[in-house]
Each structure stands twice: as C-alpha cells, then as structure tokens.
C-alpha cells in the first residue's frame, strides 16, 4: 500500500501537466453529459459498438504483427471481401444471415492463406520493407481487382435488403438496436474463443512461442509455417466477421470500404500496444469512443484529424502503446 502510494506521488510529480489536461477533458465531458445526458449516452453506446467492430479487425493486425512483425496492410481489404461475400450471398443467392457469415469466414480464411503463402512467406527473411511494400501491393491488388466490372464493380452499393430485420429499442431514451447487441455478443464470443485458443491449446502455445522467437521455436520442433498460416487464418476469420457486422451497421459497400476502418483498427492496435491482444481490444474501444465523441461533440469532418492527433500525442508519451513492451534501453 505504501509502495502504491509512493509510486503515485512520483507519477504525479512527473506528469502533473498531463493530469491537468486529463482533468480538463474530463470536466468538459462531464459538462457535455450534464447538458444533454441522453446524447452523451447515445454517443457512448455508438462508440462502444464501433469499438467492438474495430476490435475484430485490430485483433488480426496485432496477432500477425506479434508473430511475424509485419503490418498486414491487406487486412482491411480482407475485411472488405468478407463484407461483399455476405452481401452477395444474402441478396443474390438468398442465403440466411448465419450461413452467409459462415461463408464469409471461409472465403476470407482461404484468401488470407493464399496471400500468406504466395506473397508473404517467400519474403519472411527479406528486409522488412520488402514485406511491407508487398503487403501494400496485395492491398492495392484486392482493392482494384474487386473493382473490376466482372468482379464486384467499382460502384457504391446499398445493402438492401438487410439480411436481418433491424429492431431498435429505446432504453431510457437511448436507441439500441439488435444489431448492436449482436455485435457485442459476437465479439465477446470471438474474444473468448481467441483467448481459449491462444492460452489453452497447443496451437496457441505454439503461436506464443513463435511470436517470442521464431528460430528457437523451430528448433523445438514447432511447425512454424503452419503456425504462421494459422495465425493469418484466425485473424482473417475475425476480419470476415467484422466485415459482415460492419456492413449490416453501415449498409453501404464499395471496394475501398476497408481502407479507413482498416487504418483506424490498425491505429487502435498500435495505440493498445501492437502485438498485445488485450491491448488491441482496449485500444479499439478507446479509438471507437474517441471517434464518435469527436464526431458528435467537436466536428464531424475533422473527426479523423482528431483521432490521429490523439494517437500521436499518446505515442509521444507512451511510444509502445498502452500495453506494449516498455521501451528497452539498448546495451
């Protein structure tokens, strides 16, 4: 207890100006709440919903980075493919919602495995920039290939009819929809499954080992290639689910759909500490909240600028993100 107390004292001495700023922001938020409590709660609810969707995408980024130190820029586009798959399955072929989601998962997982084997694996030992440029290339390819007329077309598409009937309720004045509950439920299930895989199965143990030290893991008899591919697959499955849920919430699809959410989810993963799974989740919630609050209270068009400014400021003080490895001093 004494220890905690003295740590607090030191933290306050060092970061007093930050605390003042935080207090001001808190006071402002409280003011906004008092002004229009319903609006505040509505924003909170929307922010959480958005945060959960970002979390599904961010997990994929963080897992892949943790295991191969690659920022998979194509991840956002896999998300887009998942969305399109579900869309075509339900509207053109009259599939149900759940089967459509399952199909999206299958398609995206398959796509991710193909990408990993063909584009990323050969560059595993090449300089990191080559792998990064390759990821960018894959991203461009997915965006433009799907925009071709015979694939998905470059047009904006409205997702009607939605595969679910949307029902909304007003709870104490705040609008909540069944979609939002679905998002929260699905995401929590996914997080649980992910936790289970990573911490309670052999595959998960192998994943953690490879993330720690790839070569030693190989020497211990782990099939590193399999593990890496599995990681990509799991991440993409999550992205597929995220894609389906996203277009059900914001029913407008286009081939560049994945760019901004992908970027924001990536930012969320960095914010929470890239490579850390709880970090990706918490980071996504925070980024989702900041985005909705900024959009609602400050300025809708400046929303992205505010989100990125917040990111940069946080990075300046905690360069490795909230849950990232503390910066090591080199010997």
């Amino acid at each position: 207890m004494r220890d905690l107390q003295s740590r607090l004292v030191v933290a306050v001495r060092r970061y007093w100006y930050l605390l003042i700023i935080a207090a001001l922001i808190l006071a402002w938020l409280v003011g906004k709440y008092r002004e229009m409590p319903l609006l505040f709660w509505q924003f909170t609810v929307d922010g959480i919903r958005l945060g959960f969707v970002y979390a599904l995408i961010a997990l994929g980024y963080t897992m892949v980075y943790g295991i191969v130190r690659l920022i998979n820029f194509a991840h956002g586009d896999v998300f887009m493919v998942g969305a399109y798959t579900a869309f075509y399955a339900t509207t053109r072929y009259q599939w149900g919602f759940l089967p459509a989601m399952a199909l999206a998962i299958v398609v995206c997982t398959f796509l991710a495995v193909v990408i990993e084997r063909m584009a990323y694996k050969p560059l595993r030992d090449a300089p990191r920039i080559a792998a990064l440029i390759t990821a960018v290339g894959v991203s461009f390819f997915l965006e433009y290939f799907t925009a071709l007329d015979f694939v998905f077309t470059p047009n904006f598409i409205n997702y009607t009819p939605l595969p679910l009937t949307v029902t909304t309720w007003r709870v104490r004045g705040v609008t909540i929809s069944n979609i939002m509950l679905l998002i929260i439920a699905v995401t929590m299930v996914c997080m649980f499954v992910l936790w289970f895989i990573v911490y309670r199965t052999k595959l998960g143990k192998a994943m953690r080992a490879v993330a720690w030290d790839k070569d030693t893991a190989r020497l211990m008899g782990i099939n590193v290639d399999m593990v890496i591919t599995a990681t990509f697959a799991i991440g993409s499955a999550l992205a597929a689910i995220g894609g389906v849920l996203y277009v059900v919430t914001y029913p407008q699809i286009r081939t560049f759909l994945g760019v901004m959410p992908g970027l924001k989810a990536f930012i969320a993963a960095v914010f929470g500490g890239i490579g850390s799974i709880p970090g990706a989740f918490i980071g996504s919630l925070v980024i989702g909240m900041v985005e909705i609050l900024a959009q609602g209270y400050l300025s809708s068009p400046m929303r992205d600028a505010i989100v990125f400014s917040v990111l940069i400021i946080v990075l300046l003080y905690r360069p490795t993100g909230l849950f990232g490895e503390a910066s090591k001093e080199k010997a």
């Binding site: 560059l123 300089p127 433009y144």
Partner: protein, 386 residues
Amino acid sequence: MGRSKFRLLGQSWLFWVAVILVFLAAQWVLMPRLTEFRRTAWVMFPSIMAIICLGLNFIYGFNGQFSLGQWGFYAIGAYASAVMTYRLKDQFTYPIEGLVFNTPPLLQRLIPLEQIDLFHFDLGQSGLLLAATLFGALLAAVISLGFGYIVLLRLGSDYFGIATLGFTVIVQTLLINSDRVIPETKGARGMVGIPQLTSFFWAFVFLVLAIVVIRNVLYSSVGRAVVSVREDELAARAMGIDTLKYKTIAFVIGSFFAGLAGALYAHLYAFLSPIYFGFVKSFDPMIIIVFGGLGNLTGTLLATFIWAITLEGMRIWLPQGFEAWRFVVYPIVLLLMMLLRPQGLMGKLELGFLRAPKWPQRATSKAEAPTAEARRETPEPQEAVQ
C-alpha cells in the same frame, strides 16, 4: 595544364554544359514530338514526382527513418503555393518577347519546330511561380522542423512511421475542411483557378537542383553523418554524432523538397483536390523508392520515370475496355519485383556523377602498429617497432 578550377555547386563546367544540352534536347527535340497530354504525364509529372522521391529516399534510404509524412508536406507545398498565386496572379505580369528565329534547315530533321522561341516568357509570372514555390517549400520545411523534432525526440523507426502517417491524414483532413478558413481552396470540392505556371523549364531546373543538392549533401561530412544513423545509430552516437540533429536535418531536407514538388504539382494541373493527398496515395513515393533501390539516387530517378510512364502507358497499351486493369497489373508487377529483386532495380549501383567520389590512396610511411601478420613474418619475438 590541369583541370579547370571552375566549380558550381561542386560540379564542373562540363557538367553544367551537359545539363544545358540535355535541357535543350528535351525542350526542342523530344517535347515537340509528344502530345500535350504526354508532355505532362510522361515528362513533367515524373520530374516532379522524382523530386519528392529523392527527398523521401534521403530520409528513409539514407537516414533510415521510415516516413509516410512526405505526402502531407507535398500537400502543404501544393496548397500554400496555390493560394499565393491564386491571389496574386493578376498582379504580376511582365511579358518578355525574347528572340524568335526560324529553325535552320540543317537542324530541321532533329527539331520539328518551324520557329524557335528563345527567352520568350513572362518574367512576372515566372517570378511569381518561383516565389510561390519557395514559399511552399519553406513552409513545409518549417512545419517539418517542428513536427519532426518533437516526434523524433521520442519515437524510433516503426512508431515514427506511424506518427508520420497520422500527420498525412491530419493534413488531408484539414485540407478537406480548409474552405472555412481559406475560401479559395473550396475544401473537398477541389481548388480551381490556379495559374498553370509550371513549364518544363521550371520542372527541369528544380529537378536538377534537387538531384545536385541531395547528391552534394550525401557526399559530404554531413551526408556521412546522416548515413551513419542508418547504419548503426548507437555506434554513431558513440562516435560523436548527434543523431537527433541529423535525423531532423534529413527529415527537414526531405520535407523541403516534398513541399517544393507540391508547389510545382499544383501549377502543373491547375487543380488540387484533397482526395489526392490521402493515405492510399501516400504510398506512391515509398513504392517508387523501394522499387528503384533504397539508398540509391540513380534508382530513384529511373524508377520514378518507369513508374509514371508505365502506369500511364498502360492506358494505351492495354486493350480497349481493359484500362482499369492497369491498377491490377501494377501491384502484380510490384509483388514480382519484391519477390525477385527486393533490393530494387539498381541495388547499390550508382551511375555517372551520382557515384561516390573516390579518393586515391596516399603513399605514406609503412604501417607502424604491430599486427598479427607482421608478427608472423618475423618469427622471433620482437619489440613494437616505432
């Protein structure tokens, strides 16, 4: 005897004569043979792109700092200079008639023009362009100094890259909303009415300037310090190099040229849209320099022109109705390039005056320090020879 001592910006008179000849050849022999569209897309645009890519290569290829922020400085340079010329365009005209003469019959095969205009330009407008370009470049440099110093102080490599990415997005968002503060920019609708002042002359001049300046800095003590940061930052610090200072210098220089290029770009197409300056396009310079070879000036130049011409050229070469495929072919080529030759087109090889200057060995006294080889040659134990 002996070589002439004339040096301008470190290069001999021969070099500058060659530069002038290249300019004349391009202006009179090449350009007249190209359509207006191709002149812009195949010669002038790549020249401008090359400037920003050289700057980025300086920051990333030579200094080792991964930055996606140059695109943001490109935007700043573009808009800043555009606003300036938009407001002043009618106040500065001073046409100069220059010399007009008929092409001598001997040269008519080579120069497909009937008349040659020499020194026919508008002094006022050219001066305006020059001023606006410098304004854009300096503004970019100043902002980069502030941003770069604060961020470089705290963040290394990957995270620095992410912060610069954030910078580009922030700049774009601000530009989309800029019409509230500067109505001429018309925000997201795009700015029109920019005088089309970029001529081949200016694009060429600034490109040559960028090449020579960056090459000169590179092959100097400052350049060596900059490169040492990339090689081994810790060792560089231990050898007395203030790595923060040189990272900032590299960042500012690269951003200066990005702003410069942006100003030229704005006055080339006479239209600016913030959508162009977004996250997706911000990878273009990075792709180009990796394609040409990181840390390689020749590669950057080649790669920029190949990239621009191929991307545009595909519009022509691909069969009718397949033009959209060029954006599919492009990433495929990129992927193949990374798989087959990750070190880029030129790898480490530089050409011509872009090569590092060689210093001849000096005839000095024999080695004094005791070495293992020397010991082996003299089997008996001996004292250290002084």
